[in-house]
Symmetry: C2
Subunit: 342 residues, 2 copies
């Protein structure tokens, strides 16, 4: 069981989360712990399976830091129902330890909805936050933009978009080192009059803050990098996220189709693929360290289902960074400042 | 002035619309008329400027088919205000002739908002249609999907999404020859329970029709081609449309950045660009013939600001196809069928 005998950052990794569980999660987590001695790492899940991976890969890991959890919430489970039906699942056990302050962070590549629900319901929200948000980094021509929200909730109210702007600004500043990140609301035109009911009301609210708010941005601004924090309802953000991911799959499909047309085309495609890989290396999700779930009263990182060991390692590092920078208390203080607006 | 002495399809092209007006519009329109003798083509705009292009390019065109309009609504004009402020603009004059049944179709690459407003307010809506919709063809792995709406309106109600589904189905069937196109609602998950308030209510409505409705589709399905008709609010569709367009610009930017790194990389990028051009030829907007504005009581086609002569030619051909297939009356009959649902 996690303890606070030392001043390390206590990070729990869900060993049972992701398409290659427990293999990738265990290898990546142990690697992270070995590279950062400020991290006290815990693995939660079926202990025998965790031990098997450790022994198979000859990894040295303190057995006392394995937290047994007998159940698994899988990808097909209904998030909220699963939390009740599987109280001994790695997701429920892990988030409970964070809520009891026995750990500082929870990292999982499991059922996204379930991790989100557990973080919100078990760890709980930061006082003053109506809705947590998931951010997605979008590398672009100018560096990086981060889209909030990409699916933590839909039908956001204007005050929720204000919260996303506040949390997104803190995350972008602390984790990406951008001092005064520009904030924009995703809309259908740059003009102040363009938007839907919610985006227009949210813009009026955010204008009253001292955030570096530039007003509306459009779909094309995401890859232009016009602003660093892009705020939108999770319905829109999630559709864009999935559309964006599919562009790379689509290009791969077209490359194959083209290569199949003949020898010289195949030759050319070899060069194209190679160059594209280098050109698009910024889009390698493994490097990012998962998607942060901001607004919960503890640190929670959500990983891609297909997370590699390297992706897990970077998720642990990101959790550590968020802990070290006191992101939770910074968010709590910042939202207090704007409570009179909503 | 247009007349109906013959049974030709009377198409008015806005000579003053687009970044290269009147040059590209005039050349493309005259070319279309010369290739299709069933089209009676009219050019609306500043007659002297139109005549200059005709003479400069030595194009033969019946001078009686030039309709003088002394004003121009430009890209910076506020759409609705401009219609009142500039009653003698090519957009107002052209759409008025369609509303008076003196012409069958209006084609313009001018201020999109103004064309949309003129079509809706001057030509008017088809009885039973609450909101017109703009469709955007998305070539994909399976052929084509068409997204409705990409920006005719925001904050659509469920019944408007039903209308988009009905109109989209007719357009896809008649213009793309897909007999029973699959219809999906863009949402945040495939499961029936996933969505926002409007998408869930719209799905419940569309389910009651005899359209080939498959339920929710996700962002990634756009390029997968899971369905042929994708229905969404114009706020979402417009953001996706602009994000999608920017992907190609972004790739070009990255290619350049990469090529600038050295001679061999420049060499490789030459091959990449070349292959990409071939691979992405389906995305050439010039081929599509503009975006159809469905739901207005006449044919209206909206072109890209940077439309080439070829793009204008294909816009005229598309207008002709929509006329020949009686799209307006087919939509009117189809929406009647579902009036009891809303």
């Amino acid at each position: 069981m996690p303890n606070s005998d030392n001043n390390k950052c206590r990070i729990i990794v869900d060993a049972m989360g992701g398409d290659f569980a427990p293999y990738n999660a265990v290898i990546g987590a142990v690697q992270a712990a070995s590279e950062n001695s400020d991290v006290e790492l815990y693995l939660v899940g079926k202990s025998q399976e965790i031990l098997n991976v450790l022994s198979y890969k000859k990894l040295s890991f303190n057995k006392n830091n394995i937290i047994h959890a007998n159940e698994i919430i899988d990808m097909a489970d209904q998030p909220v129902a699963a939390l009740k039906a599987k109280p001994d699942s790695s997701i429920v056990v892990g988030t409970k330890l964070v809520s009891e302050k026995k750990a500082d962070a929870f990292v999982s590549a499991g059922n996204t909805g379930a991790v989100m629900a557990a973080a919100t319901l078990i760890i709980g929200r930061i006082p003053g936050i109506g809705r947590p948000t998931i951010g997605q980094e979008m590398p672009n021509a100018a560096g990086i933009s981060i889209l909030f929200d990409v699916g933590a909730s839909v039908d956001s109210k204007p005050k929720h978009l204000l919260e996303y702007a506040v949390m997104g600004t803190i995350f972008t500043k602390e984790i990406h080192g951008i001092l005064n990140p520009k904030v924009g609301i995703l809309s259908v035109g740059e003009e102040e009059s363009k938007g839907n009911d919610v985006s227009l009301a949210a813009a009026a609210l955010i204008k009253k803050t001292n955030l570096n708010f530039v007003g509306n941005v459009e779909g094309r601004d995401i890859l232009k990098g016009t602003v660093q924090v892009i705020v939108c309802d999770g319905f829109v953000g999630n559709i864009i996220l999935k559309f964006g991911e599919s562009v790379l799959d689509f290009l791969k499909f077209k490359f194959k189709e083209y290569a199949d047309q003949g020898f010289f085309k195949k030759l050319k495609i070899g060069i194209v693929k190679n160059s594209m890989k280098e050109i698009l290396k910024d889009f390698d999700y493994e490097e990012f360290g998962g998607l942060p779930l901001l607004g919960v009263n503890g640190i929670a990182i959500i990983g891609h289902g297909s997370s590699t060991p390297k992706a897990f390692k970077n998720m642990v590092f990101r959790a550590y960074e968020m802990y070290r920078k006191n992101l939770v208390s910074k968010i709590e203080n910042a939202v207090k400042q704007y409570s009179h607006l909503t």
